[in-house]
């Protein structure tokens, strides 16, 4: 019988499962846990149980021909101008590493317009691909996830890859699920770590959930291919090895496939946008001392590829426009990275930054409330630390800049 199974012998009625459940899906009655109608079989209680009394039992059918699947595929995306995207290089290198553990080949798939040359294919080989499957086709001149899905699915059905990786770009996030649904297999989105389990040979896929508050490691044991998407910048960019060799194979798109979606217009993303959408923010407060230090903070923001925000007193003092004000009465922000400089952290301000990912706070006062909202606290003079940080970033060159605008979408 599939579902949540509780071992009555082991259960001690400690109720930890109740507290771990987000859906009131388990309750303890007479010191024994039992699932309720709220249970969605998410498995949170399985991990929470200190005595291993809870298990998820599956009776799903396995594919019968798992052994027929081999190799790791990477969908290598090219950008609008025909260049290989950084994430394609990152994934190919990662696949190379996984293939070594698995003992198989890396195959990169690249679909380009009809006039494309061999540059992308050679680059993929230099990154670690053993084979490149490519199509040069006028139908690929415009990005069309539906056409690409049809191409990838046809190839996968014919050649049976064991693993397929996609960049979690806007295209990849539409393409990968389409392919997974058509091949009726599993897909894990936005992985931050991938590894091959040494015992089973399965792909372990680790990803954040609940807005990054929870990490989950996922596998796809009895369906093939195992599929995952990975955000740009998660894996390191490889050193290109131009001495590597590999096969380049033409893999044309079925002649009957025609595009259905029309692109009417394209507008390139501009870098300046409101602080509400910013992925990175430098927020400054009264602790930066005087308006003359503002250019330093702006330089810091520039080096970080960040927008600049500020506290209410700075707006009131006329140092920055209202559009920069972060807080309850200003703009609520949710950047991935927030560097807070000289901000004491009034309640109104903290309310506005509660959505931020990583918060680094710099303040002279070790007791400043901002530190309560920060993951990293730097007790020190705001201007001094900012000056050193600018110097360090300048010395590093572009290493501190975020992923390119396209992948930040």
């Amino acid at each position: 019988m599939a579902g949540l199974v509780i071992d009555a012998e082991r259960c001690i009625g400690c109720k930890r499962c109740e507290r771990a459940c987000a859906t009131v899906g388990i309750e303890v009655v007479d010191r024994l846990a039992r699932p309720t109608e709220g249970c969605v079989l998410c498995g949170a209680c399985v991990d929470a149980c200190p005595v291993g009394a809870i298990s998820l039992v599956r009776d799903g059918a396995a594919q019968s021909d798992l052994g027929a699947y081999h190799d790791i595929w990477v969908f290598a995306q090219v950008d609008r101008d025909g260049y290989l995207m950084p994430v394609a290089r990152e994934l190919t290198a990662k696949a190379h590493e996984l293939a070594a553990a698995r003992g198989c080949e890396v195959v990169a798939l690249v679909a380009e317009g009809e006039f494309a040359d061999d540059a992308a294919a050679h680059e993929l080989i230099a990154c670690g691909a053993d084979r490149v499957l490519r199509a040069h086709d006028e139908r690929f001149a415009l990005v069309d996830p539906e056409l690409l899905a049809s191409w990838v699915c046809a190839l996968a059905r014919a050649r049976r890859p064991e693993i397929v990786l996609f960049g979690a770009t806007p295209l990849g996030r539409e393409l990968a699920p389409r392919v997974a649904a058509e091949l009726k297999t599993g897909l894990t989105a936005d992985c931050t770590a991938l590894s091959i389990d040494s015992e089973t040979g399965l792909l372990h896929q680790t990803r954040p959930a609940f807005g990054g508050n929870l990490m989950a490691t996922i596998m796809c044991p009895v369906h093939r291919p195992q599929m995952a998407t990975v955000r740009p910048g998660v894996f390191a960019a490889p050193e290109l090895d131009s001495s590597r060799t590999g096969a380049i194979e033409e893999a044309p798109l079925d002649a009957d496939v025609q595009p259905r979606v029309r692109t009417l217009a394209f507008e390139r993303a501009t870098s300046s946008s409101s602080i509400a959408q910013a992925k990175r923010l430098v927020v400054v407060g009264r602790g930066i001392g005087s308006k003359k230090n503002l250019p330093l903070m702006e330089r810091l923001a520039e080096l970080l590829g960040a927008q600049i925000g500020c506290t209410r007193p700075l707006v009131e003092a006329g140092w920055l426009d209202y559009a920069h004000q972060v807080g309850q009465t200003g703009v609520a922000v949710a950047p991935e990275l927030l560097v807070s400089i000289g901000v004491s952290g009034a309640i109104q301000h903290l309310a506005g930054i509660s959505g931020a990912g990583t918060v680094i706070a710099v303040n002279e006062d070790a007791q400043a409330p901002i530190f309560g909202a920060a993951q990293y606290r730097v007790v020190g003079d705001a201007v001094e630390v900012a000056e050193e940080l600018v110097a360090a970033l300048e010395a590093r060159g572009s290493a501190g800049t975020p992923p390119s605008a396209s992948s930040a979408c």
């Binding site: 579902g3 393409l175 699920p177 609940f210 989950a216 990275l337 990293y376 940080l389």
Partner: protein, 268 residues
């Protein structure tokens, strides 16, 4: 025109805490809400329906969800805001579904709705759910239904005459796309803000039925639903280290700065 909006019940708070004594996850098994992105999808559907009705066309907005029985209250709230009908797929056989099994169940629900109200011209979903963050259901549904698809839609430009035009995020910017119907759209938050219900809406919704059906009633093959129909399995889940500790960065300003650069690069 028939518009189906897929909504998911998610925990009101996506905060996850770690019990420091037992080192296990503690979640507030409290209130659930309609996934905020799905709320946007509902608003887009309601506005489109109003527009089509003003143009003299009949239009129906059906809300569809797969979830526990308590999800009915959330669907009733969707009715109060103007949806014309609601279908809740609720069955032990649906529990434990990953995106593939969820997509299958929803497609069965859509087929059921289609029998009563005609094949949907548009299926709208939120861009992602705040608890799962996968953003997979929309494109998987499109593939399953054989529909066209646009994801991360920022704005619906026009709709009618067998096609819908949208502005959606694509690599490097945004694009205006024209999709022949039927189409699946996944909506970004900025596309719309869900309206509040009126007193009239709240009172009317109290009298309206929410259809609750199990797997058999919508003709779903239980080998393809729930845990049994899910290719992926969670091996383990854990709270990432960094979020429950505040790390002091000490040293001289220069040393602090170097350490910060490392931290910042770690975030990217």
């Amino acid at each position: 025109m028939h518009i189906v909006v897929c909504v998911k019940a998610v925990p009101a708070s996506t905060e996850v805490k770690m019990d420091p004594v037992t080192n296990t996850i503690v979640r507030d098994g409290g209130a659930s809400v309609v996934n905020p992105f799905d709320a946007t999808a509902l608003e887009v559907a309601l506005s489109l329906a109003e527009e089509r009705r003003r143009a003299g066309e009949q239009c129906r907005v059906s809300v569809l969800s797969m979830g526990i029985p308590a999800t009915e209250a959330l669907l009733r709230d969707c009715l109060a805001r103007g949806a014309d009908g609601a279908l809740l797929l609720s069955d032990r056989a649906f529990a434990g579904a990953d995106t593939l099994a969820t997509t299958y169940a929803l497609s069965c629900g859509i087929a059921h709705l289609a029998k009563q109200w005609g094949e949907p011209d548009l299926v709208l979903c939120g861009k992602m759910a705040v608890d799962g963050d996968t953003a997979q259901i929309g494109p998987e549904l499109a593939a399953t239904l054989g529909a066209t698809c646009a994801t991360d839609v920022r704005e619906v430009l026009t709709c009618g005459a067998g096609a819908v035009a949208v502005r959606a995020a694509v690599d490097g910017g945004t694009a205006a796309l024209e999709l022949p119907l039927p189409a699946v759209l996944t909506l970004a938050r900025e596309a719309a803000q869900l309206r509040m219900p009126s007193i009239a809406g709240v009172r009317a919704a109290a009298e309206m039925p929410v259809e609750v059906l199990g797997a058999a009633a919508v003709g779903a093959d239980t080998a393809r639903t729930g845990l049994a129909g899910s290719p992926t399995q969670v091996v383990r889940s854990f709270v990432p280290e960094s979020q429950h500790e505040s790390v002091a960065v000490d040293g001289t300003p220069a040393e602090q700065a170097l350490r910060l650069v490392e931290i910042i690069e770690g975030v990217a």
